[in-house]
């Protein structure tokens, strides 16, 4: 009976203990809510990225996200690529190239230390490059090091690299994330506990959430660094990215995932909103060994059937530059080939008729789930329907399924993906690459480029290569993946375009 009375006093039809428990818990939670979030400190930067890197060693694998955290922040190479795409000194103060283009002599910067306190010397360079070209290397750009015949270290601050054949882009390649200098003491654990010579050192990685870096006090150019702490936060959902920016949780999102939400930041004076270029070419790859795509007339007809401006408008809210070949407008050797095979449905139908497909054609388009790809695919299907080509869109999970079916097994007609590596026009001559494109003339051109040390000559050859692809269309060249950057208007120093996949925070500072 006593129990009934107690319940009665509560006046609620629940066991008293339960009511009390939940009420107390809720009260505690509500009390916790009241203090407002702390204001950001001026020496701290929180930078948002869509994808979390799998590890923090850019010499171990290909993912762009690794470079977007580490390149020039944690690690440095002998040279760097600056925001204009030019090669600049970094760990090497100067260099000389022999007349025949075979011997590179680097003078290394003195007084440079790794984050673990060990000093940077010529031996480290030799170690890093020997490791990258060893049989067990998983370096995604191992071919950078292929021309190296010998690495000598006459003294602690001189490195002499002898090549077996001239390599036109050798210096440029040494600026890549794949060619950063790692030390023998720490190379084995860099994936989880990175040690480099960069302006920031690694503090913590809360997997699934954030990577924290802090200023490296012994950095060789410490005076030029303004920030004390940098946090990279990983936010995949586009709506959540925008919410985090608006709430001030994230100060910068250099590569916003949602183009349709980008516009709302442009008119807001609290934010800087800049549309730049990435190194990513969005191309609709064709299986050049499979009929009817082995017929250049069919490929040209498909290219004529596509209105790039419709794609850019529909898939990327009007941001993005149309391309006619596989070359980034960021690069000084870029030529505009987007007018070589312009949108011309009448010409497209003629070409199809010439090739014997006057009464139509059907193909499947294997489409990864990324927004740019699935939206572009639907528009491509609609545009090609106008020239009598029936496109069946087949969603293909990226990366796993796409890599297996399209990239490895070449089981596809057409696909669509952004190629984000810089200066990767050579993929069209790689043996066994998924386009299955075989053009001896193009291959010879790329080989000539790789052994041409003279820049003007090399750029001329690049122009020819771009023209060849624009006419031969082994893939449909659509548009350059834009870099939609949004950051706090008081921030200065972030890169607007990325000639290398990266988020360089070395020069970033807060201004009023």
């Amino acid at each position: 009976m006593g129990q009934v009375k107690r319940v009665k006093k509560q006046g609620v039809v629940m066991k008293p203990s339960m009511t009390l428990l939940s009420a107390t818990a809720l009260a505690a939670v509500l009390a916790a809510v009241l203090p407002l979030q702390a204001q950001a400190q001026e020496d701290e930067l929180v930078l948002g990225m869509p994808i979390e890197p799998p590890n923090l060693d850019p010499t171990s694998a290909a993912p762009v996200a690794i470079r977007e955290v580490t390149w020039l922040n944690l690690y440095e190479g002998l040279v760097q690529i600056d925001r204009n795409g030019e090669v600049q000194p970094l760990l090497a103060e100067s260099w000389e190239v022999s007349e025949d283009g075979l011997t590179y002599t680097f003078q290394l910067r003195e007084g440079v230390t790794f984050h673990d306190g060990s000093s940077f010397e010529a031996e480290d360079v030799k170690f890093a490059f020997d490791r990258a070209r060893s049989p067990d290397s998983t370096n995604a750009q191992k071919q950078i090091f292929a021309p190296i015949e010998e690495i000598e270290t006459p003294d602690d601050h001189t490195v002499v690299i002898t090549l077996s054949e001239p390599s036109g882009n050798f210096l440029y390649y040494l600026g890549w994330g794949d060619a950063v200098i790692v030390a023998p003491e720490s190379a084995g654990t860099n994936q989880t506990d990175p040690v480099g010579t960069g302006p920031f050192k690694f503090d913590d990685w809360v997997r699934g959430d954030r990577v924290e870096l802090s200023r490296f006090e012994d950095y060789w150019n410490a005076d030029a660094v303004h920030l004390d702490r940098v946090t990279f936060r990983f936010i995949n959902d586009a709506q959540a990215q925008v919410a985090a920016l608006r709430a001030g949780d994230v100060h910068a999102f250099p590569n916003l995932g949602a183009p349709e939400l980008f516009a709302e930041f442009s008119g807001d004076e609290r934010f800087t909103a800049v549309a730049g270029n990435t190194e990513g070419e969005i191309v609709a790859g064709l299986n050049n060994q499979r009929s009817p795509f082995d017929d250049v007339r069919v490929r040209q007809a498909l290219m004529h059937g596509i209105d790039r401006s419709v794609l850019i408008e529909g898939a990327y809210a009007g941001f993005g530059q149309p391309i006619g070949s596989h070359f980034s407008p960021n690069h000084p050797a870029y030529v505009d080939t987007s007018g070589v095979l312009p949108y011309d449905p009448v010409r497209a139908r003629e070409l199809l008729a010439e090739a014997g497909h006057g009464d139509g054609l059907s193909l499947t388009l294997k489409t990864p789930q990324m927004a740019y790809a699935s939206r572009s695919s639907e528009l491509i299907a609609a545009l090609l329907a106008d020239i009598g080509v029936q496109v069946e869109i087949r969603p293909t999970e990226f990366p796993a399924q796409w890599i297996e079916e399209v990239f490895s097994n070449k089981d596809y007609d057409m696909t669509i993906v952004a190629h984000t590596e810089p200066l990767d026009i050579d993929i069209y001559q790689r043996d066994g690459y998924y386009f299955q494109y075989e053009n001896p003339e193009f291959k010879a051109l790329i080989e000539e480029i790789s052994v041409t040390p003279d820049e003007a000559e090399r750029f001329e050859l690049y122009a020819q290569a771009q023209q060849t692809l624009a006419e031969d269309v082994p893939a449909l060249f659509l548009f350059q993946l834009p870099k939609l950057g949004v950051w706090d208007a008081r921030l200065e120093g972030l890169w607007e375009s990325t000639p290398m996949p990266s988020n360089v925070v070395r020069d970033v500072r807060w201004v009023e």
Binding site: V4, V12, V13, M14, S22, A23, L26, A28, V29, A32, V33, P35, Q37, E52, N55, S60, A61, A62, P63, P135, D136, S137, T138, N139, A140, Q141, K142, Q143, Q191, T192, V206, R207, G208, D209, R210, R233, F234, I235, N236, D237, Q239, A240, A243, A244, R246, A247, D249, E397, P399, A400, Q401, I403, E404, E405, F407, S408, H419, E421, I427, G432
Partner: protein, 313 residues
């Protein structure tokens, strides 16, 4: 009781063994090679082979299965293929987010649903009942991730009371709870809607039982009869649903964790799937299987507490 425990442990072991075989086979058949994914469109034959060696993918399937099973039995869940850190460490970090989130969501949903359900049943076919049923209809219809976005828009973007997502860690328990509150509410609403319906119909059913009529006949008022005789009997289906909901909340919070960018178990599994981090996938799926079984067991114990007749096993 001991018999019940023994039976449960045997079931646990057998289920886990079957689950381990099933998940291993499924992952063998599924397209996707973790080494190829790491090298992407830059993969070349020699580097791919080197990475496959490094990841242990060059060894035969049965050997990899036995190694994994042996490791798991001795408590070693292995190294994540992509992150290169022990899976046990990853999972422990994630559980420190997902478990409190699920508990908080259950707490909120129960605190809302049980009183609402009882009120609805006690006022059957009257405005209060219709009100609760309307709430329940809406709650079931609203997807939790969308509701989460609305919460973010209002409480984070507009009012600025909460951060828009992320998790600061348990070093600061207040901040941690604060980060979990909105996602917990987003998760709790649809669950509360379901739970309120279950509570309502269960109470209504018990209200129609003979012993309630007897209680009323001996002179108890409707309210007293409800408190003393109906509630406890009506709780069994409610506890069953709560148990199911807990498993669902732990495993099924992927979308809400994404919206709030919480580093929980759901997101770990999602990421591991897209990277084909085979070791992490296998371990986490096994963990889920174990969790469901354990929660069901706890639900059984709760029955026994609620209904003495079931204590005989």
């Amino acid at each position: 009781m001991i018999f019940l425990l023994l039976r449960r442990f045997t079931a646990l072991a057998i289920t886990l063994l079957l689950a381990s075989i099933a998940i291993f086979l499924v992952l063998e058949i599924l397209p996707g090679d973790p080494a190829a994914i790491m090298l992407g469109t830059e993969a070349r034959e020699d580097t791919l082979a080197a990475l496959r060696r490094e990841m242990g993918l060059d060894r035969p399937a049965y050997e990899r299965y036995l190694n994994w099973l042996g490791g798991a039995l001795s408590g070693n869940l292995g190294l994540s293929m992509t992150y290169k850190v022990p899976v046990a460490e990853l999972v422990a970090d994630r559980l420190a987010v997902t478990f409190p989130l699920a508990f908080l969501a259950i707490l909120i949903s129960t605190a809302m649903a049980v009183p609402l359900g009882v009120i609805a049943a006690a006022n059957h076919e009257r405005p209060a009942d219709h009100g609760v049923m309307l709430f329940s209809q809406i709650g079931v219809a609203i997807p939790n991730f969308w509701f989460g976005l609305l919460l973010i828009l209002f409480f984070s973007s507009y009012l600025g009371w909460f951060s828009a997502g992320g998790f600061p860690g348990w070093d600061d328990p207040v901040a941690a709870l604060k980060a979990l509150l909105l996602p917990a509410v987003a998760l709790a609403l649809p669950q509360a809607a379901i739970l309120a319906r279950v509570t309502r119909s269960s109470v209504l059913e018990v209200l129609g039982e003979d012993f309630v009529r007897t209680a009323r006949a001996k002179g108890l008022t409707r309210r007293v009869a409800l408190r003393r005789h109906v509630l406890r009997n009506a709780l069994i289906p409610v506890v069953t649903v709560m148990g199911m909901q807990f498993s669902f909340l732990v495993a099924g919070a992927i979308l809400v964790e994404n919206v709030f960018t919480l580093p929980g178990l759901g997101r770990l599994l999602f990421q591991a799937m897209s990277q084909r981090d085979l070791v992490v996938i296998k371990d986490v799926v096994l963990l889920f299987a174990a969790l469901v079984i354990v929660v069901n067991f706890l639900v059984d114990l709760a029955y026994a507490w609620l209904d003495p007749r079931l204590r005989q096993g």
